[in-house]
């Protein structure tokens, strides 16, 4: 059997609040195998954002284990987590989160700077990926020169630049109109078709319908986990 990209076992996270310890995530188990395309769904406060932050190695769990590419990362220190985010994960955010002063090419190449890759390789790689997402002609432009959908494509190129094992997308279409959202989802489907594993948070059923598997959160627990059926939801 193929080793899962993600294996989460009994994962829990509690926050200190004025009212006492608040359990945002209550013992979650989940396996993600290579090549999967999963939608994480659920209302606000269901724990899906907490879960994504843990998957993204931006936070550490209170209890439980998280194996990322076979390695237990639940208790790693901050530098080790930074290294994982840099080498193993790619992030796509709702707000695109490009750095406004840098050209698109430099934005895409930024993870490679922290990976210590030399300048020529960085630029070549960044241009290649910009071309892949259809923005090859905008390499020297600044982010504010292009549309939101184009910015999100650049962000996807940036997420891909380090050849990650997994792409984490947090409401990637939340700031886009339905037409552009469709385009972005088609890009994700294409990438998944090339074998890239994607975990995507959304609360829109028609966005989730693009994914192969849908996991639903409620009150810090997984309430349903099913494969997408039919050709639309």
């Amino acid at each position: 059997m193929v080793q899962p990209v993600i294996r989460v076992a009994g994962l829990g996270k509690s926050y200190e609040t004025a009212a006492g310890l608040f359990p945002a995530l209550k013992g979650v188990d989940l396996d993600v195998r290579p090549g999967e395309f999963i939608a994480i769904m659920g209302p606000s406060g269901s724990g899906k954002s907490t879960f994504m932050n843990l998957l993204g190695c931006l936070d550490t769990p209170t209890v439980g284990d998280y194996f990322l590419a076979g390695e237990n990362v639940a208790h790693m220190d901050k530098d080790a987590l930074a290294l994982l985010r840099n080498r193993t994960l790619g992030f796509v955010f709702q707000g695109f989160n490009l750095l406004p002063r840098m050209s698109l090419q430099d934005n895409v190449a930024l993870p490679l700077v922290y990976a210590g890759v030399d300048r020529e390789t960085r630029q070549a790689k960044a241009r290649e990926l910009l071309a892949k997402v259809g923005l090859g002609n905008y390499a020297e432009s600044l982010p504010n020169r292009i549309s939101g959908g184009q910015q999100q494509r650049v962000a996807i190129a940036r997420a891909l630049v380090n050849e990650p094992r997994l792409i984490l997308a947090d409401e990637p279409t939340g700031n886009l109109d339905s037409h552009t959202s469709e385009e972005i989802m088609r890009l994700f489907e294409e990438l998944n078709g090339e074998g890239i594993t994607i975990v995507l948070v959304t609360h829109e059923p028609d966005i989730a319908a693009h994914c192969k598997r849908q996991v639903r959160f409620l009150d810090g627990q997984i309430v349903s986990d099913q494969l997408t059926t039919g050709d639309s939801a």
């Binding site: 993204g56 931006l58 530098d79 840099n86 080498r87 989160n97 750095l99 002063r101 700077v113 922290y114």
Partner: protein, 406 residues
């Protein structure tokens, strides 16, 4: 790793040009002030050292003692207690380099239709050695001139100008107290001494000639003053002690009888003058560095603002793999670059103003490489010191919080 970060720091500085420029201005003024103050302070020190070096180094003088007649005391060099034999005996002591017995006073000089009042010093050839005084025109006199009391004179620049005008004084005859003297040499210029007296307004003649023809002496061979040059500043106190005991022995002074001569350390006065200017120079530098400190605080202030403004950027960088030390060095580098750029401009500004001060007021300024080096090191230090806290603050941000920041 450093290379792309330099570019980023440059971009960040360029993103808000006015703010960066104003922040830099604090450093420009600080470094500029330090450079100017150091240039002026070191210039003052240099000027004093120049004056001191014209006096001659490691010198002390022995003056003949005072005498008391009916309760009236004569003051130093009033009594004829020193003589040439004393000087010769001092010359035999260890640690003594030059000994010059002198007899001096103010006399009227006459040449042709010109006359001029000047200080006349009767002494031996060692006097010029002790004072490191060279002859620029003609020659000096020798021991044989002292032995035979020849009427020759070496004159200072001021005397030459006032008495001889454009004529070449060497070989001319002038009169001191009706006695004709042949001018055989002109001294190099020494300028003013520490008291402000013109050292070039001087005529030097053989000691014996002075004693017999110009001043007259109570006893043959008595002198008012003996100038002694010690080997070094360190051995000077010891040399002065041995001169004291030698003279007491020669003058047959018993235990408990006070000295019949006075001693004065010329170098000590000069040293204290040098010390004063050194202190002043340090004080000026210290005051100037306060403005450097203020400039540093300006950098810290702006970096704190910058960290807050760029919280989201920091979150993004962390999400894509920046470690804490990457964020720390990014902001630290930015602070150091602002500091360095400010320092460089301050250095140029300081130099320009220092040169302008020199050009317009004639004040002596000294621009030393060490001052520039100090300014640079301080600027880098200020950048790191005041950049550290904001950079640390940036590096310790929680990536989730930072990403959520609007």
């Amino acid at each position: 790793m450093i290379h792309p970060m330099l570019g980023e720091a440059w971009l960040a500085m360029g993103a808000n040009r006015l703010r960066t420029a104003l922040t830099m201005l604090g450093m420009v003024i600080g470094v500029g002030a330090v450079v100017i103050m150091m240039a002026i302070g070191q210039g003052a020190q240099y000027a004093v050292q120049q004056t001191i070096s014209t006096m001659g180094s490691n010198l002390f003088i022995v003056l003949s003692g005072s005498f008391t007649t009916a309760g009236v005391r004569s003051g130093s060099a009033g009594a004829p207690t020193l003589n040439v034999a004393d000087a010769n005996a001092i010359a035999e002591l260890d640690g003594v380099v030059n000994v010059a017995p002198t007899h001096q006073g103010t006399r009227q000089l006459v040449y042709g239709s010109q006359n001029w009042s000047s200080q006349v010093i009767g002494t031996t050839p060692e006097y010029l050695d002790a004072r490191a005084w060279n002859i620029v025109n003609g020659a000096g006199f020798g021991d044989s001139d002292v032995r035979s009391a020849t009427r020759v004179a070496i004159i200072g620049k001021t005397v030459a100008e006032n008495l001889f005008g454009d004529d070449d004084p060497v070989g001319k005859t002038m009169r001191i107290q009706q006695n004709p003297f042949i001018v055989i040499g002109v001294l190099g210029s020494k300028g003013q001494n520490l008291d402000g007296r013109d050292q070039d307004d001087t005529v030097i003649i053989p000691l014996t000639t002075a004693q017999r023809k110009v001043f007259g002496t109570p006893f043959l061979g008595s002198v008012r003053m003996i100038m002694v040059q010690a080997e070094s500043a360190e051995t000077m106190p010891r040399t002065m002690e041995s001169v004291t005991s030698l003279l007491r022995q020669r003058h047959r002074l018993r235990e408990g009888v006070p000295d019949d001569f006075f001693m004065r350390n010329l170098s000590a006065a000069a040293e204290s003058e040098a010390e004063t200017t050194r202190t002043m120079s340090i004080l000026l530098g210290a005051i100037a560095s306060i403005s450097l400190l203020v400039g540093g605080i300006g950098i810290m202030n702006i970096m704190l603002v910058s960290v807050t403004e760029r919280t989201r950027e920091i979150g993004i960088r962390m999400a894509i793999g920046a470690r804490q030390r990457d964020i720390l060095s990014q902001f630290l580098l930015e602070a150091v670059m602002i500091s360095f750029a400010g320092c460089l401009l301050g250095l140029l500004l300081g130099l320009a103003i220092a040169l302008a001060i020199n050009a317009f007021t004639g004040m002596v300024i000294v621009i030393s490489g060490s001052a520039a080096l100090i300014a640079f090191v301080v600027a880098a230090g200020v950048g790191i010191f005041f950049g550290w806290y904001p950079a640390q603050k940036a590096a310790r941000l929680d990536p989730i919080e930072a990403l959520r920041y609007q």
